[in-house]
């Protein structure tokens, strides 16, 4: 075909063969050049455009528990009927590149636990000073513990629900803050050091009648090191926390005791270790929430071991939370109402349905809410009589995906 066209042209016909070859080579080179430009262009376009990522978890849960009267539910919303709301949540994130160094990020989030009212969970400007140093300013999720910042992205971790003993201890989620982070490597180990400063208003949740904890001068440092399959993380955050007298009274602190909660130095400390070689998964964390006043402090931790078996991953978790430094001069009923005590065993199974969808099932057995020191309902919220037994079970099923 090409030959026919060439021979039909008298000009081509007169050209010596070597010249023709040279011309063809030139054309080939120009074509390659154009292709390259095209690739470079598509790549630049991809870098410029707004990137959209999302996550979704749909779940059901149910608690097996006994109360003589009234009702009870676990802190994540599981009660004695199958409920769809507590584990169901979704988010969409937009990353817009403003320049080579600046990026604006907005994440909209809605959850069944919050009646699907959409809120801005993340909304910040990220400025990259160098390959190693970047600063974020705006609304960000507090990085107290190892998995805190992606607690809502079920696909990001193997549990159906992160251990409440550590992750529900301080229900701080978002804060308005400035965070600077520095990445560096020392030989085979890479590190990330970050520090933040901001403020937040924290809803204490149902168990304290939704008392508002105002955290000012919320600041912290966290240091993470990665070496091959190991991750080690240490974090310390502190704030001046205040609670209004009305909210204290609603949370069950009788005004007659004359207790107040005004700019109390409060710290969260966490130490975490994780191993994941694609065959075994191990994660352990220790956490402490310490109030510098009469309010009961807590210490907690968990250990998880899982095994990847093709598309399946069975895992087991042990967790506990205990009160620390109880003020014995206070009425026992007050300490019982505010202190945290619980142990748990959780058996879970994750199944990878496709590259972006995971199915999970989990059974948690919670026990030891009371001992000779303190008598609590663990992380259960009771309306009416307390739990009849010193144990209860929660079952969770969820489908987690990212897109």
């Amino acid at each position: 075909m090409l030959g026919a066209t060439l021979s039909a042209s008298p000009l081509w016909a007169q050209t010596p063969e070597s010249d023709l070859q040279q011309r063809l080579l030139d054309y080939e080179q120009r074509l390659e050049q154009l292709e390259k430009q095209q690739f470079d262009k598509t790549l630049d376009d991809a870098a410029d455009r707004i990137r959209i990522n999302g996550f979704l978890s749909a779940g059901v849960s149910r608690a097996e528990l006994e109360t003589t009267s009234g009702s009870a539910s676990y802190i994540d919303g599981a009660d004695d009927t199958w409920s769809h709301d507590s584990l169901t949540r979704a988010g969409v994130q937009f990353n817009a590149r403003l320049s080579d160094r600046a990026e604006a990020v907005v994440q909209l989030f809605a959850s069944g636990a919050d009646e699907f009212n959409a809120e801005l969970q993340w909304a910040y400007l990220d400025y990259q000073f160098s390959d190693a140093v970047s600063v974020k300013a705006g609304r960000i999720v507090a990085p107290f513990y190892m998995h805190s910042q992606y607690i809502d992205v079920g696909y990001a971790y193997p549990w159906a629900s992160l251990p409440a003993e550590v992750y529900q201890l301080a229900p701080v989620k978002t804060m308005e803050a400035v965070e600077a982070s520095w990445r560096f490597t020392t030989g085979p180990v890479s590190h990330r050091l970050s520090g933040f400063w901001g403020s937040s208003t924290v809803d204490g949740g149902d168990r304290v009648a939704n008392a508002q904890f105002q955290a000012d001068d919320l600041s912290g440092l966290n240091f993470t090191s990665y070496w091959r399959n190991w991750t080690l993380r240490a974090a310390y955050s502190a704030a001046d926390v205040s609670v209004s007298q009305d909210d204290l009274a609603a949370a069950g602190v009788p005004p007659i005791l004359g207790l107040s909660f005004d700019e109390v130095y409060t710290y969260f400390a966490g130490l975490g270790l994780q191993y994941d070689d694609g065959s075994w998964f191990f994660s352990a964390e220790k956490a402490r929430l310490d109030f510098g006043n009469w309010y009961p402090s807590s210490e907690s931790g968990y250990v998880t071991v899982g095994k990847y078996l093709g598309k399946w991953m069975p895992m087991v978790t042990w967790a506990e939370v205990n009160p620390r430094d109880l003020d014995r001069s206070l009425p026992a009923a007050l300490n019982n109402g505010l202190a945290e005590q619980q142990k748990s065993w959780t058996g879970g199974l994750r199944y990878s349905l496709s590259e972006a969808i995971a199915l999970k099932g989990e059974v948690s057995y919670y026990y030891d809410f009371s001992d000779s020191e303190v008598s609590t309902s663990g992380f259960f919220v009771t309306e009416g009589a307390p739990l009849e037994d010193d144990h209860a079970t929660v079952i969770r099923l969820s489908a987690d995906l990212v897109f």
């Binding site: 690739f39 990353n95 390959d131 190693a132 490597t185 990847y308 590259e355």
Partner: protein, 135 residues
């Protein structure tokens, strides 16, 4: 039947023998990389190696060479990497490597830009490229 068995065996053999190597432009000043450096580049923890700014590129997902690369160098499956990147994306700590559309595009891009780091089956390496790591 025998023929089917034979072609199945052949397919199995080719998947097992996927032999990914890490490549940069022949003009790059980067020398041989260690496994730790390759891991740090492809999980986004290092953006600069030996003073050179690096940008990793991924082959299309579901390809044998990509599976083999992540399995052999990072010890992770496609799902495990997806879960890792979910942790990074939704906390603003990084974005996964840009995905090219084909092996041909990988060769073209890495060959034309000193900052790109890619991987390919060893049989597809061209004179424009320099192999800096073999698993």
């Amino acid at each position: 039947m025998k023929r089917i068995m034979f072609s199945l065996l052949l397919m199995l053999a080719t998947t097992v023998q996927a032999d990914p190597v890490v490549v940069v432009s022949a003009n790059s000043s980067l020398g041989a990389l260690t496994q730790d450096e390759v891991r740090q580049i492809f999980n986004g923890q290092a953006r600069r190696v030996s003073g050179v700014s690096v940008k990793p590129l991924d082959l299309p997902s579901r390809g044998d060479a990509r599976e083999a690369f992540y399995q052999q160098v990072l010890g992770k499956s496609a799902e495990q990497m997806k879960s890792y990147w979910a942790r990074m994306i939704f906390t603003g700590r990084g974005m996964p490597p840009r995905e090219v559309s084909s092996e041909q595009e990988m060769v073209m891009l890495v060959g034309s830009n000193r900052n790109f780091v890619g991987y390919l089956d060893a049989s597809q390496v061209t004179p424009d490229l320099k192999v800096v790591y073999r698993p």
